[in-house]
Subunit: 442 residues, 2 copies
């Protein structure tokens, strides 16, 4: 049977350089999550298929990789997103979890879609969720975590924008534009798909919602409304065509964003609704500033979802951020080193022997002693006695120190070469580990 | 459609406490790998089904979760192990990879088996591989990495044993016992399955290999042969019934294990062959000392495998260590805290406001400033003004410091309480972050 060297379409082979970038991104995600007080969780890589069809209907099956065990009768699917797993896990322990629940996860996800720029069949996605608390402080706690990670990856407010909206305010604006209360959900869907529809098709659907020509123009104004996050209530009310009472959610969010010094990253974009029907309040997407890439992240408030999965009523806010678009943005902005291996931890010590019996005896012992003291220690696999060449290998491996086991071993000493500073000195073999461990790190 | 709160059989929901244990184990694996000079890689979670049937034959299909995309015609399978992916990745870049290749990975794997103690359908497995170098130094480099991780998890040579064998020596012993050269492979298989077979079935199969009653007794002696790793050549030769020339591989391995101060962890167990047909030299398993659990780890030399996957001839040595049995052993030995959340990083600061306007304004600002300085900072979500109760919450969260934003804000100061030492002092608001960042960590 023919064996291919290629992995499945839309998946990635993470050789050390690509893996270094992945861990760099995941590290920023993980540490931002922890510093914001979120605890890490994980779930199964596959779930019962019903977990996804319950939320999204049977239409989702074609976007999933689904399967059964040979001889089994349970249908499973590789997880396309994390929220159903999260909702299931919260619902299962809702009686005993202390609130608020602040969880993050960095799982891989799968979509049986055609591969495109920024979209793969297997990808890593950071999920951050805060459950059990309503209101702007909870919304902003989640957004703060996203911004903190982006800052730590070197991005600036001129590189990426947090585009915010609020379904409450937009719902009021749609009602004011003439959408009947029972059609607001359909109107959200139309707003979400607006950029993907031909104008004629859009007109047709808008008319089907009962919108007059004037109301369709108002609808366009809402969809295009972009304002700075510190816009005052009057300007917002005017643009959305609502009274200021409808803006309570929006104004509370803006105030908290300013208090946490996040306003520079954010702007109002009332065309953002997030397609999923389960969002209930604040919604947001993070985009590369030019808007040319797919969204870096997206999320919002989903106060009804845990209940849908059999749990209690529970307020909830969260987002997902994938590694694929983010990696493209970081690369485009020059925020990844040309040689990604530079992201990896440097060896503390690179051991070089001279091939003598004493060196062959002492080198493996020293190598393991260094590691047992928590140092990253490598040794040459070459048998050459050309120490100059091996020192070149040590520098290429980006080692901090080379330890040369040569003739001085007869006096119980080794040569310790500082590969950053260039200095070299003889030190007793028994003290080499302590000297390296004690040296200041660059 | 009914939604269940349960994940699929044999998978795990990693709530924060279980996740803390998983990250604790993975952290020991990752840091041991890095300190031993291995670089991390990853591959796709699923591969072409043919990648597994090529190595193991079509019989493996029942042990796999396999699937197709709706409307697609490629057969895929969730990876049951990492070695085929590794061999594929090495083969694909064999011309350009600098040797030796030293890689590790910490992927999840899947087996469509019945759940048992120590065996799940989804599990995490640490894989460490060294390719491009033959001989004992490479074998022991890989074993050293496994032992380093076990040491760092708190295990001792009295807790777990590295049981070593060598197919060269055992092959010579089988030949000396009367196994014909073309039946050595079958004899390895019989040796491997010996403990699982009924005595009558074993006798039947041994007879089918052409073994006389006397040879079957020799076969039993080989299978039961356990010796200390520093046993001398004469003792080994006598036990295996071979001449000392057949022991070159075994003796070289023992010498290197002693040089790296690993001998205390190791013993010879010539009943270990590892079932997989592709092992070629050194083989080993790591077991809990009593032998009552499944293997903690297993691996060996597989010099022909990369070639089987279309690459060049390339010497290779590696092992896999799963998280399930290891977790049981750590728990049984008291090496995991009763409350696994104690494994998580402690908050540096826990912010408490008094509900005043000044505190409501300054608390979110300080919270984010602390995080921007790399500190782990949380705030209470409660609106109580009972500072004593909130200090209790801060201690329960294991915070190092509580920062109380109270009446002193009028003078631009906050109360900083050291929750380990118990002391409390007023510090200027603007200096709170620097004071916490500069305090020695416990």
């Amino acid at each position: 049977m023919a064996v291919t060297h290629q992995g499945p379409k839309g998946t990635r082979d993470f050789y050390p350089d690509l893996m270094a970038v992945r861990r760099h991104i995941e590290g920023a995600w993980r540490h931002a999550s922890i510093d914001c007080g979120f605890d890490e969780i994980e779930g199964p890589t596959y779930e019962h298929l019903a977990l996804y069809t319950a939320k999204s209907g049977p239409g989702i099956v074609n976007e999933l990789f689904s399967f059964r065990r040979a001889g089994g009768d349970d249908d499973y699917a590789l997880r396309p997103e994390f929220t159903p797993t999260l909702a299931r896990m919260v619902a299962a322990k809702a009686g005993s979890l202390p609130l608020p629940v602040k969880w993050f996860a960095i799982p891989v996800h799968f979509r049986a879609e055609r591969q495109q720029r920024g979209r793969l069949r297997e990808f890593v996605q950071w999920n951050v969720d805060l459950l059990g608390v309503e209101g702007a402080p909870a919304d902003v706690e989640v957004i703060a975590c996203a911004v903190l990670a982006l800052e730590r990856l070197g991005l600036k407010p001129t590189d990426v924008r947090v585009r915010l909206s609020h379904r409450g305010a937009v719902g009021a604006a749609l009602a004011a534009a003439g959408v009947q209360p029972d059609r607001v959900g359909d109107a959200f869907e139309l707003l979400d798909r607006r950029d993907k529809l031909e104008p004629a098709e859009f007109e047709k659907r808008a008319a089907a919602l009962g919108l007059s020509a004037e109301a369709r123009a108002r609808f366009d104004t809402i969809a295009a409304a972009r304002l700075p996050v510190d816009a005052d209530a009057g300007a917002l009310a005017l643009r959305l065509g609502v009274d200021q009472a409808s803006l309570a959610g929006v104004l509370g969010l803006a105030e908290r964003l300013k208090a946490m010094e996040l306003a520079a990253w954010c702007e109002w974009d009332f065309g953002i609704v997030r397609g999923l029907a389960y969002y209930t309040g604040t919604v947001f997407e993070i985009h590369e500033a030019s808007g040319n890439e797919r969204a870096v992240a997206g999320g919002g408030r989903y106060d009804g979802l845990v209940e849908l999965f059999g749990g209690p009523k529970m307020p909830a806010m969260g987002f997902g951020m994938g590694d694929v678009v983010l990696g493209l943005v970081l690369g485009d902005r020059g925020l990844l080193p040309k040689d990604a291996l530079a992201l990896l931890p440097r060896p503390d010590a690179y051991l070089i022997g001279d091939g003598s019996e004493a060196s062959e005896r002492e080198l493996p012992r020293l190598l393991m002693q260094l590691r047992r003291q928590g140092l990253h220690a490598r040794a040459s696999w070459k048998t050459t006695k050309n120490v100059g060449k091996l020192l070149g290998d040590a520098a290429k491996a980006r080692a901090r120190f080379a330890v040369i086991l040569g003739a001085e071993l007869a006096q119980g000493a080794v040569a310790l070469k500082d590969l950053d500073g260039g200095s070299q000195e003889l030190v007793p073999l028994a003290q080499a580990a302590a000297r390296i461990a004690g040296a200041p790190r660059p």
